[in-house]
């Protein structure tokens, strides 16, 4: 199945297609990882701040 997906671009891109596909694939994977890491880090800190704020409010109430 994987071979059949890659067959068309390899044929279209010629003898050095593998280099082009690895370059684009590598950059795409790293970029996606960067974006996901960026979002997850934001969510983690945001929920940490909210948790601390809530705890603080509860402590003040007591």
């Amino acid at each position: 199945m994987f071979n059949s997906i890659l067959e068309a671009p390899i044929e279209a891109l010629g003898p050095h297609a593998i280099f082009i596909l690895i370059a684009y694939g590598g950059v795409a994977i790293v970029t996606l990882a960067l974006i996901i890491f960026n979002i997850l880090a934001y969510q983690k800190q945001k929920s940490r701040l909210n948790r601390l704020k809530n705890n603080n409010e509860n402590t003040n109430l007591i």
Partner: protein
């Protein structure tokens, strides 16, 4: 006689102080994220469509020229981010601006990633074009040094608990390291190298519009991606520092209460 207290006049915040204050930055940068996402995705779609379906093969390199559309933008970002870090270093050292520290800190991992991508795509472009993945020439060696510098700066940030001291040291080292940027830029003119010379010079652009159009679109797309990631990472770092402050406050409060008991 009543003593008249002399109160120092309160310095009015100018527009720069207002937008560069970390708290203010958190507010206004929130409205930047969505437009940046839309611009980045749109320019990437247009750029990739041009790169694969609307640009010709090179008469010598054939289809491998398409690697240029990701190699040049990542290489450009690797240097652009370092220059941005150097400017932030000045802001941190001269004006001791907290937002400059934040910008400098979060840019280093992004710079390291884009430099690694530039080296990776360059190696993959070099193999079919020059017959080798790597050559110890001026451009490649100085870019490898740039990657090592980024990694060193990240390690330095992580080795200090006191972020203010870390910021000072990192800022000085970043400013010293900025000498590497003109070396990377002019290495292809100063030394004999396999690497091709700059495509943009005082004589103009040394390639046809069918090739430089997708290249410039991809340059813009990658730059927008960096601005998006940098803005979000800065927001994350400001929130992290806020949470740390709150945590310290809570610990101090708790230890104070225990001492009173």
């Amino acid at each position: 006689m009543n003593k008249i207290k002399q109160i120092a006049p309160v310095k009015k915040m100018n527009w720069f102080d207002k937008i560069a204050h970390p708290g203010q930055f958190l507010i206004w940068s929130r409205y930047l994220i969505l437009p940046l996402i839309i611009i980045t995705i749109t320019t990437f779609i247009i750029g990739l469509w041009y790169a694969f379906f609307n640009s010709p093969e090179d008469y010598q390199m054939g289809n491998t020229v398409r690697i240029m559309y990701i190699h040049v933008p990542t290489a450009w970002l690797s240097q652009f981010i370092y220059v941005m870090m150097a400017i932030s270093s000045i802001g941190s050292l001269v004006w001791r601006h907290p937002l400059a520290d934040v910008a400098m800190k979060v840019a280093a991992p992004l710079g390291a990633t884009f430099t690694a991508m530039a080296l990776f795509t360059g190696a993959l472009w070099g193999r079919p074009t020059w017959g080798t993945y790597w050559e110890w020439d001026g451009r490649m060696t100085s870019t490898l040094i740039l990657l090592l510098m980024y990694l060193g700066l990240i390690a330095l940030w992580r080795s200090f608990d006191d972020q203010l001291r870390a910021a000072k040291l990192v800022a000085i080292i970043t400013l010293v390291g900025v000498i590497n940027i003109p070396i990377i830029k002019f290495s292809v003119d100063w030394w004999n190298t396999l690497h091709q010379p700059s495509i943009i010079s005082s004589k103009g652009i040394s390639m046809p519009p069918e090739i430089y159009t997708p290249l410039f679109i991809m340059l813009f797309a990658f730059t927008m991606l960096f601005i998006l990631l940098q803005t979000n990472a800065m927001r994350t770092e400001i929130i992290r520092r806020k949470a740390d402050r709150l945590m310290r406050k809570k610990i101090n409060k708790n230890s104070g209460a225990k001492n009173n008991v």
